[in-house]
């Protein structure tokens, strides 16, 4: 079988922050009633996390769960485990009104790291990224220039960005321009 490869295969760029494509990330879109006990247990079994509250992201490394809307979660698991985890999850959810789908190969993930990471993201998304407004543990679905994207912070100087795979090249170019040397704005 052919070897799976991520959209930009770990392309990276260093300017006022380091931008890199993270490679393959297992992702499951889970829709259903987020207060359902069966769904809560399925999320716990897959990620070890509870169901996140509004705009929360509970992530450790490449495993975790993000709040996407009132009836949608994004479950992150290691790429190699996604099929097994999904099978277990689908099986557990067979009796409830819920849907779990493997979207790993439909997405691309980027990491933006460095003291100016907030600035790089702030140039692209219409979101208040000041330290008072946006912190690790939160997720924000928004747009990156002209395409949809979601992002969260792994720590105070690191963002992870998820976008559609078809827009990966566009988003990488955006991030590169936003991270050009000498382009610090100094607002955050």
């Amino acid at each position: 079988m052919s070897e799976p490869i991520s959209a930009l295969n770990h392309a990276s760029y260093t300017g006022i922050a380091k931008v890199e494509e993270c490679g393959l990330q297992g992702m499951i879109t889970l829709r259903g009633d987020l207060s359902d006990k069966v769904l809560i247990k399925a999320v716990k079994d897959a990620t070890g996390q509870k169901v996140p509250g509004q705009r929360e992201a509970l992530i450790k490394g490449d495993t975790g769960v993000c709040w996407m809307s009132t009836d949608e979660l994004l479950v992150l698991v290691p790429y190699a485990e996604v099929e097994t985890k999904l099978a277990v999850m689908s099986n557990a959810l067979s009796g409830v009104h819920a849907l779990a789908v493997n979207v790993s190969d439909a997405r691309a993930v980027f990491r933006i790291a460095g003291a100016n990471a907030r600035e790089v993201m702030g140039k692209l998304a219409p979101v208040d990224l000041s330290a008072e407004a946006f912190q690790p543990g939160q997720i924000r679905r928004s747009r990156l220039a002209q395409v949809a994207g979601a992002f969260w912070m792994d720590d105070d100087e690191t963002f992870r960005v998820v976008c559609f795979r078809s827009a990966a090249d566009y988003v990488f170019k955006l991030l590169k321009v936003a991270a050009q040397p000498g382009s610090e704005v100094g607002v955050y």
């Binding site: 509004q54 009132t70 219409p126 679905r141």
Partner: protein, 109 residues
């Protein structure tokens, strides 16, 4: 720039994250209705100078539809509320009455 608070994800979303969905609280007249009702449902829209009710979708965000009450003259936003209602909640009506006493919009006031 119009900024609306999405009642589903709690974000103060600016206009570029949102998609406008036209007038709110339309009653659909489908098959079996009179030609007059169907015509009005399809074509007749409010175009007020002042209080107006609209549908918006948090397209670059949680993806949910919601309602917004705002003033077309000043762009003041009176409030946003769930899409799952047939008329504006009393809280929104009160907020409008506080700012625009005597307002009316279609059958609401």
């Amino acid at each position: 720039m119009l900024i609306l608070n999405c009642p589903y994800c709690g974000v103060d979303a600016e206009e570029t994250e949102l998609a406008a969905g036209g007038e709110a609280h339309l009653k659909r007249y489908g098959p079996g209705s009179s030609d007059g009702d169907f015509h009005d449902y399809l074509f007749m829209r409010e175009n007020p100078k002042g209080v107006h009710f609209e549908r918006w979708r948090h397209a670059n965000g949680c993806g949910k539809w919601f309602h917004a009450a705002r003033c077309t003259q000043t762009l003041e936003v009176f409030g946003t509320y769930s899409a799952q209602v047939f008329e504006p909640p009393q809280k929104i009506k009160d907020a409008i009455t506080a700012k625009r006493p005597g307002w009316t919009w279609r059958e609401f006031s």
